[in-house]
């Protein structure tokens, strides 16, 4: 275990983390402390936002307004505006919830787990992905609330001292969900903010306008960059990383319990927790790529987010994608091997029933297309990688659709089978939540350093050391 203090920027170079293992090309060789600070800080402080930002933000904001309309209509009319019914009592809301939570996994995985295992290539993307995590979890958190028949009593799921002595029913996975998701959000938020503090101080120091100075100054919490500050900061940061790391595994495991604890064929499966976690990281990385690739182009950040970064993320996607594919195979195998007729007919219905085409779309999007990642040419071609990541993102949404809807629409009692047809409001809420996500992301890009200045500076110094 390396003491935290030794990873502090400006600490003794000899104590740096196994430099010989450190991969090359994580940062352009010409970069200096000054150029890094200027390049990243100026996006927030002085640069005019590019046309693409305005355009993107406008689209995102329009979608956010669509979400507001959808939510208003939902609260006014009730969940009947969606396509849900009996037997498919869960629809897009739960699909979207699981999807967003999955997307929210990459950030913490990149920040915490890669930090703990000293993968320094994370440095230039961690800030970004942490923000993405927060926003994704925020989007995810909306859905379980909105999908309640009576959303105004959502707090009954919390263990609070009720005057009637009522508690949540702790055997229900939905209660576990409340804890898992709220903990994850809280830890992710603190972790992200802790990482931001040195950069906020940098912005405060470089801000040309008084308002910026005051706001960033307040947010920097009096950071002065003293060695003690750095030491405490890094201890806290590592501790938080240690806290966050298991959450990456636990959140989606708990989310998967929503399904695997139930007795519905297609849900009741022991493979779900690892399979969900792998799927979450899979889609999380895909979302990072889908966002990072355009942004590095627009903001000319290729020198910070290099092809090597893209390559690594593609490799992680390939690995988790194979795990997910294994999950698909095991589901089918277990359906056959169990000899359980409900499982078997669930599998047959999944593949050949009325929603069979969606299942096969899932196979193409999530299993077949990502096989292109075996090729390094694809992995280092931003456009190709963007498309593969897009396929995975859609594929992972479709996977949740398959799990939630095709399992429910035909379960035990054939007389009660039904179909689920999404309505306009189902779609508008889905795209609206993307609007919320993108709006938050655009605001983040505009007002906060999207790449960690302090950590990249550390990278520069290490690069320099290595040259010497």
């Amino acid at each position: 275990m390396i003491p935290a203090s030794q990873t502090v920027a400006g600490a003794k170079p000899g104590d740096m983390v196994l430099p010989e293992k450190r991969p090359k090309g994580l940062i352009a060789p010409k970069e200096t402390f000054e150029s890094v600070t200027e390049d990243i800080g100026s996006i927030v402080l002085t640069q005019k936002s590019p046309r693409a930002w305005w355009f993107g933000a406008a689209v995102a904001f329009a979608l956010l307004m669509l979400l507001l309309c959808s939510i208003s209509w939902l609260l006014y009319r009730g969940v009947g505006i969606w396509g849900i019914n009996i037997p498919v009592a869960w629809g897009f809301a739960i699909v979207n919830f699981v999807w967003w939570i999955g997307i929210g996994h990459a950030g913490t995985f990149i920040s915490a787990i890669l930090l703990l295992v000293h993968q320094q290539w994370r440095t230039s993307i961690n800030r970004f992905t942490e923000a993405m995590t927060l926003f994704a979890v925020a989007c995810a958190g909306l859905f379980p609330l909105l999908h309640l028949g009576r959303p105004f009593v959502f707090f009954w799921l919390l263990p609070y001292p009720d005057t009637m002595g009522l508690w949540p029913q702790f055997r229900s996975p939905l209660v576990w969900d409340v804890f898992a998701v709220s903990t994850y959000f809280a830890v992710s938020l603190i972790f992200w903010y802790a990482g931001l503090i040195p950069d906020l101080a940098t912005l405060r120091d470089r801000a040309p306008k008084r308002a910026q100075k005051i706001i960033y100054g307040m947010m920097a919490l009096g950071w002065r960059g003293s060695a003690v500050h750095w030491q405490n900061h890094q201890s806290a940061y590592l501790l938080l990383a240690g806290l966050a790391a298991p959450l990456v595994l636990s959140v989606h495991s708990v989310v998967s319990f929503d399904f695997s604890v139930a007795m519905v064929p297609g849900w009741h499966s022991t493979i779900f927790p690892p399979y969900f976690v792998a799927g979450a990281i899979y889609s999380g990385f895909a979302m990072v790529l889908n966002i990072v690739i355009p942004i590095r182009k627009i903001y000319r950040l290729e020198k910070f987010i290099t092809l090597r970064h893209l390559n690594y993320m593609a490799v992680v996607m390939l690995a988790t994608g194979m795990m997910v594919s294994y999950g698909y195979v095991m589901e089918a195998f277990m359906a056959w091997y169990s000899g359980d007729i409900f499982e078997q007919s669930m599998m047959a219905n999944r593949a050949f029933g009325p929603y069979g085409w969606i299942f096969w779309a899932l196979m193409v999007l999530n299993v077949i297309l990502p096989q292109a990642l075996w090729s390094k040419r694809i992995r280092t071609n931003p456009l190709a990688l963007f498309l593969v990541a897009l396929s995975i993102n859609i594929g992972m949404w479709v996977e949740r659709f398959v799990i939630v809807i095709t399992s429910l629409h035909r379960d035990f009692t054939p007389s009660a089978w039904g179909m689920y047809r999404p309505t306009f409001w189902d779609w508008s809420t889905l795209f609206g939540s993307m609007g919320l996500f993108a709006t938050l992301l655009f605001l983040f890009i505009r007002f906060l350093p999207m790449i960690s200045i302090s950590e990249v500076r550390k990278l520069v110094s290490e690069e320099k050391e290595a040259q010497i």
Binding site: R77, G78, V79, G80, G83, I84, N85, I86, P87, V88, A89, W90, H147, L148, G149, R150, P151, V153, F154, W156, L157, L166, W167, P168, Q169, R171, S172, P173, L174, V175, V178, D258, V261, A262, M263, V264, I341, F342, Q344, S345, A348, N349, P354, L408, D411, F412, T413, P414, S415, A416, W417, G418, M419, R421
Partner: protein
């Protein structure tokens, strides 16, 4: 599983049509004319204001009738708020009375039950009786008298009518016509006779679109007079129905269902069962219960009957009857079975069959020695049994030649229902004074000068006879909500203006009959019937039957159309009843619409899918309506249901269904040959509550069945194939719940269940279950707490059909309880699986985890909080659910509580049978038994020990409290399946 288990299951998924958006039924708020005065002068305005002020105060009052009415079950010294009172009354359906006991809370009738003492009910009702409660509170009911479309008064009406009648005096009433529906009311008959005495030249006509003309003519053909045939299905071993839906559509069907099921209920291995053969032109409730069912065109039944008659030795048939091979075989085996059961069999002909078939069936029953044994004859309960088509025809003839000055139509809707070839609607406006008494403003009201709102039977006095002749009183429970009138009052006004109230009229008649015996009257009110008034049986002699030559079917591809009353909205009179519109029709499970029912073969040949609009052409008249592919429908016959597609109707019935009456005519009243059908390419969205698909495996332990022979050979066959794990086979605490008191449970006998839907509506009425509308049904959001699942097996052309009522299973290991995050669904100390509405947050997880899918969710605010007239209908003991909460069957927990309170007051336990759930109480087949399974001697405990008892999806170890008795059929061993 046994040989006749669901072998090859065959239907492919019927994709529903494009989800066309049909607007929910709310459209125009008012029918023009009924509530908006067009030209208001100052006087009218003041009068209306006064009237509305007076009305405004009324809804707050307890609207108890002022006349003396006698509570039925209990007679508390005074009305105790919160304790319901029960009153005996009766409702007529198809003219005949069924005794009812109506629950009243603080003066509001809230639930209709059958009168256990009444011969036509024996405690049960059918769907129409249940739904009639909603008709009482229907906000679209006619709410005032109109004269030529303008709001008017009773006094004005009476004076206009009197003036006109005065001018009839000289003509002895030659220009006066009365048109009624089928009437069994002794008082009404008396009034009509008085009227006809006053105006000897006046004529009384009767017409109903679902009439019994063929039955009447058939009886005349066989016996030379009209006698009513009574069947004793409980005495028959072999029952043959020739297109007769005696379990559902017959005026006495409730009684017949009970008798029929008596020979099927919970059979013991040694017991015998009756055997039902049904040859029918469209799958009916009766047909689904058949042991041998033959899909046969309505027009071929004549030939089949002749062949059968020939074989059992009726000498009226001399010519040789050539039958197709399948019918030949069927008739052959059937005849042998009948001959082996002389004196213990019944042959019934359907009301849609020509009189010759009825006459032959009478002859068959006589030849088989059934007459006097299983079949008896008696004086009809009808006031005057006449050929109603001919009656209406003569009325139209008189209209045509302007011979009618006054036409008083008491009930009915002949403009909508009369045979189009009569042109009734065309000639009706020629009458100088036409008066129409009806509950709603319908097609006929629009064409009459005067419209008088008809009082509901729960708001007026009257009387009627049941099918067996027993007279019963129609006792009101509430003052008329909208100041309507009854037929008695109109006739009384015609006899001696200004007329009296219906109480005086009915009372006077019965006082006359009983010489003013007050006790007798009170007794009749209390019991709901006049003891000993049933028609005595009548000796009949079979006459030589002169059979008309047998009609030959037209050659292919000519098709046949058959007309039948709609199984839910009947002849259209229930078109504005949301409960009935939303009630899934037996077999097809269609709601809110009718369709042309076609066979799978015909659909394949014409390349038709469900919801394809076809054009049906017959003798130059064309009708467009969607088709519904119905297994068991004869290939060359298309079934059409009457009563749909009403044009002048309230908000509920608007845009529901297609009017098939256009194709009907008086010559081809029930069916017509030589019809062509053409695909139009257009689509229409039909909605069902049960989607159709292949069941992939027979191993799903949902429906258990077998044959009587198999059961006798191996009484354990059901248990052997059930995989319910032992209660101790669990890793968790096997004794998680301890029950010290009652343990409620239910057993449903699938052999006894006839599939009549009554349980669904009884539950809807008892538990304040809302109507959701066609759009919501299409989305799979119907709210019924108990549903009736129908399964098919065998060939698509002639499948076996079976029904399974599915309420909440009240599982011991309830999957729903585990997953609710707020504990809104939980186990109570009597083993009930409770749903706490005000704790429910609406995650719907419980429904996902329910393997039976019996939970229902309020996706919108379905319960109508707004409409004032619907509020008093609600059962005050059951929460009216709000949006966003889950609900489900509670085993009528409010009734359990009531019984518990009563028993605890008397310091005793609830006795077995004292407490009935709504579905149990209404069931004419007595297929549902509820009680304490902790008491080993209770009826339900015994049934749960029955060898046929099984749990639905038992292998899931949910350990349901609701269990089933497997369905047994009793096929003829000599016939191939």
């Amino acid at each position: 599983m046994n040989a006749s288990s669901p072998e090859k299951l065959w239907r492919s998924l019927a994709e529903l049509a494009n989800p066309l958006e049909f607007r929910a039924s709310r459209h125009a708020e008012f029918n023009s004319g009924d509530s908006e005065p067009h030209k208001v002068n100052r006087r009218d305005f003041l009068r209306l204001m006064g009237a509305s002020l007076a009305l405004a105060g009324l809804p707050a009052c307890t609207r108890q009738p002022i006349e003396r009415i006698v509570p039925y079950v209990k007679q508390p010294e005074e009305l105790v708020p919160g304790n319901p009172l029960f009153y005996a009354t009766s409702m007529t359906w198809r003219g005949f009375a069924t005794g009812l006991v109506v629950e009243s809370h603080e003066g509001h009738p809230t639930k209709i039950e059958g009168n256990p003492d009444h011969p036509a009910s024996r405690g049960a009702t059918n769907v129409f009786h249940q739904a009639s409660l909603l008709d009482l509170y229907d906000p679209d009911r006619s709410q005032g008298i109109t004269g030529n479309g303008e709001p008017d008064t009773w006094e004005n009406f009476v004076s206009v009518l009197s003036d006109k009648l005065d001018s009839q005096g000289a003509k002895k009433g030659a220009g006066l016509r009365i048109l009624t529906e089928t009437i069994t009311s002794p008082t009404l008959l008396n009034q009509l006779q008085l009227l006809l005495k006053k105006y000897p030249e006046a004529t009384w006509h009767q017409f109903e679109p679902v009439n019994r003309d063929c039955v009447i003519e058939g009886s005349r053909m066989a016996f030379g007079e009209m006698v009513e045939t009574h069947y004793y299905f409980d005495r028959a071993n072999i029952i043959v129905s020739l297109d007769a839906d005696f379990l559902y559509g017959h005026p006495n069907s409730i009684r017949y269902a009970r008798d029929f099921s008596a020979r099927r209920r919970a059979p013991q291995p040694g017991a015998e069962m009756n055997r039902l053969y049904v040859g029918e032109s469209s799958p009916s409730v009766t047909g689904t219960n058949a042991d041998h069912r033959l899909p046969i065109c309505a027009g071929e039944i004549d030939g089949l009957t002749r062949a059968l008659a020939q074989r059992v030795g009726v000498d009226a048939v001399s010519e040789h009857i050539g039958l197709p091979p399948d019918q030949q075989e069927w008739v052959g085996a059937l005849a042998v079975d009948l001959l082996e059961n002389r004196g213990a069999s019944i042959v019934v002909a359907g009301e849609n069959q020509p009189s010759a078939v009825h006459a032959l069936v009478h002859a068959i029953n006589h030849t088989l020695g059934n007459a006097g044994q299983t079949v008896t004859y008696a004086e009809t309960a009808e006031a005057q049994a006449i050929n109603q088509n001919e009656s209406l025809r003569s009325l139209v003839r008189a209209l045509k030649i302007n011979a009618v000055d006054i036409l008083v139509t008491l009930g009915g809707n002949p403009v909508f229902t009369a045979p189009p070839d009569f042109g009734f609607a065309e000639y009706l406006p020629k009458v100088k004074l036409s008066v129409h008494l009806s509950a709603d403003v319908n097609e006929t009201s629009k064409l009459c000068n005067w419209h008088i709102p008809l009082n509901h039977y729960l708001e007026s006095w009257g009387d009627a006879r049941s099918f067996d002749g027993t007279a019963s009183i129609v006792q009101p429970l509430i003052l008329p909500l909208y100041g309507g009138k009854s037929a008695h009052e109109i006739l009384d006004a015609m006899i001696l203006a200004p007329g009296r109230g219906d109480y005086e009229i009915v009372r006077e008649f019965w006082d006359m009959k009983s010489n003013g015996d007050e006790l007798k009257w009170r007794r009749a009110l209390h019991d709901g019937l006049f003891e000993g008034t049933s028609a005595s049986s009548k000796k009949v002699t079979l006459q030589a039957i002169n059979l008309p030559p047998l009609n030959q079917r037209l050659a292919e591809p000519a098709l046949e159309i058959t007309f039948r009353p709609d199984p839910t909205i009947f002849d259209g009179r229930f078109a504005n009843n949301g409960w009935l519109q939303e009630l899934p029709k037996p077999v097809t499970k269609l709601a809110w619409d009718n369709a042309a029912l076609i066979s799978p073969n015909l659909a394949a040949r014409k390349q038709l899918e469900n919801g394809d609009i076809v054009e049906i052409g017959h003798e130059g008249r064309r009708l467009r309506l969607p088709v519904w592919i119905t297994p068991g429908q004869p290939d060359r016959s298309v079934a059409l249901h009457l009563g749909n597609g009403r044009r002048t109707v309230g908000n509920v019935g608007r845009r529901a269904g297609f009017d098939v009456n256009i194709l009907r005519n008086s010559e081809a009243w029930w069916f017509a040959d030589g019809v062509e059908i053409r695909k139009t390419g257009a689509k229409y969205q039909l909605v069902t509550t049960q989607t159709q698909h292949v069941i992939d495996s027979e191993d799903r332990q949902i429906f258990r069945e077998g044959t009587l022979t198999a059961f006798q050979n191996d009484p354990e066959f059901v248990r052997k194939n059930s995989e319910s794990p032992a209660a101790s086979n669990t890793l968790f605490q096997p004794q998680e719940y301890h029950y010290d008191g009652y343990r409620w449970g239910m057993s449903i006998d699938l052999t006894a269940c006839i599939g009549c839907n009554a349980c669904i509506l009884a539950c809807q009425s008892e538990n304040n279950i809302p109507v959701v509308g066609k759009d919501q049904v299409a989305r799979g959001r119907v709210m019924h707490w108990i549903r009736l699942d129908t399964y098919f097996s065998g060939s698509a052309a002639n499948p076996e059909m079976k029904h399974q009522p599915v309420p909440c299973m009240q599982c011991e290991n309830a999957p729903c309880e585990l997953v609710c995050p707020v504990g809104a669904t939980l186990h109570d100390k009597e083993g009930l699986n409770l749903q706490v509405y005000n704790r429910c947050v609406g995650t719907r997880y419980c429904s996902n985890n329910c393997p039976y899918k019996v939970r229902r969710f309020n996706f919108y605010q379905y319960a109508d909080y707004e409409t004032p007239s619907l509020k008093p209908m609600w059962n005050p003991n059951v929460t009216v659910r709000s949006r966003g909460v889950m609900e489900k069957c509670t085993y009528c927990i409010q009734r359990i509580s009531m019984a518990r309170i009563n028993s605890e007051e008397q310091n005793r336990k609830i006795s077995d049978g004292e407490l009935k759930t709504a579905c149990q109480q209404v069931c004419p087949a007595q297929a549902i038994v509820f009680g304490d399974i902790g008491n080993p001697d209770s009826k339900v405990s015994k049934l749960k020990r029955h060898k046929l008892s099984f749990s639905m999806l038992g292998e899931l170890n949910t350990r349901p409290r609701t269990t089933y008795l497997a369905k047994l059929r009793n096929p003829n061993p000599k016939m191939s399946a």
